[in-house]
Symmetry: C3
Subunit: 145 residues, 3 copies
């Protein structure tokens, strides 16, 4: 076993009114190449309490299906306690994001993410307006000999 | 790139009957200072099958909204197979915790968690009684030169 | 603090039609022993967009309860946009997997996973047929002096 090296960088993702879902796999693979790490682990974390990260097949149909399921978890039309204090109309956004979770840990093998053929990493905006989101990326691993 | 150092410690969180939600961000930031790690990644994991970890804006209204959403995912009033064997009344607690997930990975930048302004890390007890929960924390990263 | 070492390996998990849930804790503990890492962090990631990983008490009753809850999140009987393009009957599988998430980060303490007594790590197949799933495991940590 080699000793481990680390690499840190963030990416910016422009997203529309939530739930909006964007494929960030190419951005992550580009950071891995930049890090020169051959084998390791990548952690990606959404900065902000109305966004989340997961994986899905990034195909328009199933992306729509996921949006509907997210809106079933915490429907925009319900009454939220958050509104009574803040009146900003995004109580459902906070709840949706907390249920999905802000972070993901992914394997790096041979200088790229090791995912399924139809599996992409996606950033999700749950907020009730467009947001440019920051995703913090931490890469740890070993370089080629 | 520097080689990486590691630091391990656990925190204890006293929680009421579930779903109860507590902000553990100050505890995590204190561990980061203790570790002297400048840049890196923090993994926090709930020990126990009826607890979970996520992030949310730690504001009383939206915390209540999240509790309600958690109880919609696996309502306490449903009939659970778990009860037929164990009769301890917490079938919903196990299911809620499994759906939210026990772990989170967070970026450390400049000796603190890099989160959104309104984003806090929370430990959740889903069990049907008060529990003092252990959260295991693993920090990996590089120290200042 | 010592400098960190890394270890990478994958495991294969044979799963039935989803939602099917299998305990992979013994497999992960075996990899930890093989890695000789004493203290650290283990990241496990499901390869493929219709699988997920979480923890639960691996007891037949609550496993059934979790299956039901998963099917409430994205019921197989709903109409999915994914079907209109692909006609493979697994729109719900993709949505379920995305909501649960593909990855987990777990503490290694004293050469084994540090979990609750009744807490096991499980791999879940959400697909509409049996699948042998690959779980990629990345271990980072320090060896005994």
């Amino acid at each position: 076993m080699q000793s481990a090296s680390m690499f840190y960088e963030s990416i910016e993702v422009a997203l529309q009114t939530g739930p909006d879902i964007r494929d960030i796999t190419p951005d992550l693979d580009q950071l891995i190449r930049k890090s020169q790490i051959e084998m390791g682990s990548l952690c990606a974390t959404m900065v902000g309490s109305t966004g989340s990260i997961t994986t899905i097949e990034y195909e328009p149909g199933v992306v729509e299906d996921l949006k509907k399921a997210i809106n079933r978890l915490a429907p925009p039309g319900l009454e939220y306690e958050h509104e009574k204090a803040w009146h900003d109309g995004n109580g459902h956004s906070h709840v949706q994001a907390a249920l999905l979770g802000p972070s993901i840990a992914l394997p790096i093998r041979n200088r790229q993410l090791r995912l399924g053929t139809w599996q992409q990493v996606v950033a999700i905006n749950h907020d009730n307006g467009p947001r440019t989101r920051t995703v913090e990326v931490s890469i740890i691993g070993t370089k080629q000999d």
